[in-house]
Amino acid sequence: MPAADAAGGRRIGVADLVAPSPATLLRRRILRHWGLLIGGGILIAIAAVALLAPLLAGYDPYDQQLARKLIPPVWHASAKATWQHPLGTDQLGRDYLTRLVYGARISLLIGISAMLISGVIGTTLGVLAGYFGGRVDMLVTFIVTTRLSMPVVLVALAVVAIIGSSLTVVIWVLGLLIWDRFAVVMRSATQQVCAREFILAAQAVGCSTSRILLTEIAPNVVNHLIVVATLEMAQAILLEAALSFLGLGVQPPTPSWGLMISEAKGLMFFDPWLISIPGVALFLMVLAINLVGDGLRDVTAPENRN
């Protein structure tokens, strides 16, 4: 039959006649999105390295052996380079690969914790403003404007300097400072959802406010939430690195990438790899998180791509 050749010489099967389900479409979009696949791959690899740090690293990240200090990495044309320390050792003789691997833990821990704290604050404010509107909206917008007008790095540095620095302090200071984008995005996302008819229907049948917020609005704004969460996580990681670099973030001898760059700063003219290696690691992690965020935005809401 000639009709059987309509689909480019192929027999038309049932699969061609049934519209693909949303899940299938989403899967297809994910598999066709190179940025998302590459970013996701790098991120999963870094997370695996961070989780398995004690198994992967051959040394103790705090073990100083001055006899083996400043061994260059293996690609260096130096006689001192050895496969025993593939990325070399730092100025205190600590294995650089080990410190890098444990540093991934610190970055991820700070990125995720600060993102969760800021996510709770920002989402609460944004959803309240978007749902209730009016005075609540004005108040939230005012709080966001005030927060935005204060310089993040400077305030974070000042606060950390006043109350003293530790891992917990850094997480809380960043978490309490970077919720603005959550609030802005959640506000407009909630406003859009609230204009839809099913919200009116839920109000008409007498659903409680908390029920509407949790079961009607929340599922419809969650994709925006994930995209902002990745951006804020990347932001938190960069800020922690900057704070640690300036000496007011994570304190020595903790292996933070920003701190590793800071500690090696004085030696960078003689041993530039000391700052290149943690710098590249930091760059790759933030790049991967941003790629995942952009990719998720593209595949969940293809219409917002530009």
Binding site: G35, F142, T145, T146, L148, S149, M150, P151, V152, V153, L154, V155, L157, A158, V159, A161, I162, I163, A234, L238, A241, A242, F245, L246, L248, G258, I261, K265, M268, F269, P272, I275, S276, G279, L282, F283, L284, V286, L287, N290, L291, D294, N306
Partner: protein, 305 residues
């Protein structure tokens, strides 16, 4: 327009007031500021003397109003360590940071606007892809590491630019690039989106239909409208840059406000820290106000809000 401007001005003043309150309360975050200044293990009578000298023994509301009244008159208190009025120190350092911020913004705009326009005129072309790649890479690069890498290559390896200081214009090239590249992705994306949107509008079709040259359409008709939001974004980003310049100024040892902030943080010089946060926040509030008013002036549709 006047009603809108008055309303925006009112909000801006309220924001500035709130910021001043938050900035003031920073001193009390550590508990007792007198003990913080005296240092650990200081004698009780010394702590008491310091508390009297700086007026920490008065009610907090009185202290705040006193500080605020001083700030309004241009008196931002005395530095604990420099032993001179903070306002004078800030005024001396502010121009350096402003020059740095202006050069960084110039670099960002010169790079981002042409790229954004070309990317919009030829979507999915090589230039568009290059611009996208540049934006993705730019957003992931830690600014302090980028600055150190610049120093390593341009300053030490090729020896084309001085590494530290703020004496000549060459000193500002690397810091401006390191500070400005972070703004380029946002400006580029906004330019691209704006030009794309304008190019598909009816009046551009009309301009093309009546036979105007493509370049005239692009520059005289399209770009003029597409650039409005970019100007506003640039103003806001300039404010962000002044706040973020602390990292860059510290690395290049540029004697600006950011370096002063870092020094005062190192010395726990609270009045200077407070004053810098306040000054930068107020500048930011002023810039966003100016951007909003400019937008509303150029685009009457925005005046409703």
């Amino acid at each position: 327009m006047l009603a809108y401007a008055a309303k925006r001005l009112g909000v801006a003043l309220l924001v500035a007031l709130t910021v001043s309150l938050i900035t003031f309360s920073m001193i009390y975050m550590s508990g007792d500021p007198a003990i913080a200044i005296a240092g650990e293990g200081a004698r009780a009578e010394d702590v008491e003397a310091i508390r009297k000298f700086y007026g920490f023994d008065r009610p907090i509301a009185v202290q705040y109003l006193d500080w605020l009244a001083g700030a309004l008159k241009g008196d931002l208190g005395r530095s604990y360590t420099l032993r001179q009025p903070v306002a004078g120190v800030i005024l001396a350092r502010l121009p350096v940071t402003m020059i740095l911020g202006a050069s960084a913004m110039t670099f960002a705009l010169v790079l981002a606007i042409p790229l954004g326009v070309v990317a919009a005129v030829r979507p999915n072309s090589m230039v568009d892809r290059f611009a996208l790649a540049l934006a993705v890479v730019g957003q992931a690069m830690p600014s302090f590491w980028f600055a150190l890498t610049l120093i390593l290559w341009l300053g030490v390896h090729w020896r084309v630019l001085p590494i530290t200081g703020s004496g000549s214009w060459q000193n500002f090239v690397m810091p401006a690039v390191a500070l400005g590249y972070y703004v380029t992705p946002a400006v580029m994306r906004l330019t691209r989106a704006g030009v794309l949107e304008v190019l598909s509008s009816d009046y551009i079709r009309t301009a093309r239909a009546k036979g105007l040259r493509p370049m005239t359409v692009l520059f005289k008709h399209a770009l003029r409208n597409a650039i409005i939001p970019v100007v506003a974004l640039a103003a806001v980003q300039f404010g962000f840059m002044l706040g973020g310049s602390i990292v860059i100024e510290t690395i290049f040892q540029i004697n600006g406000l950011g370096y002063l902030a870092w020094e005062s943080i190192q010395r726990k010089d609270l009045p200077t820290m407070q004053a810098i946060v306040l000054v930068l926040s107020v500048i930011y509030v002023g810039l966003t106000l100016a951007a909003d008013l400019l937008n509303a002036f150029l685009d009457p549709r925005l005046r409703v809000a």
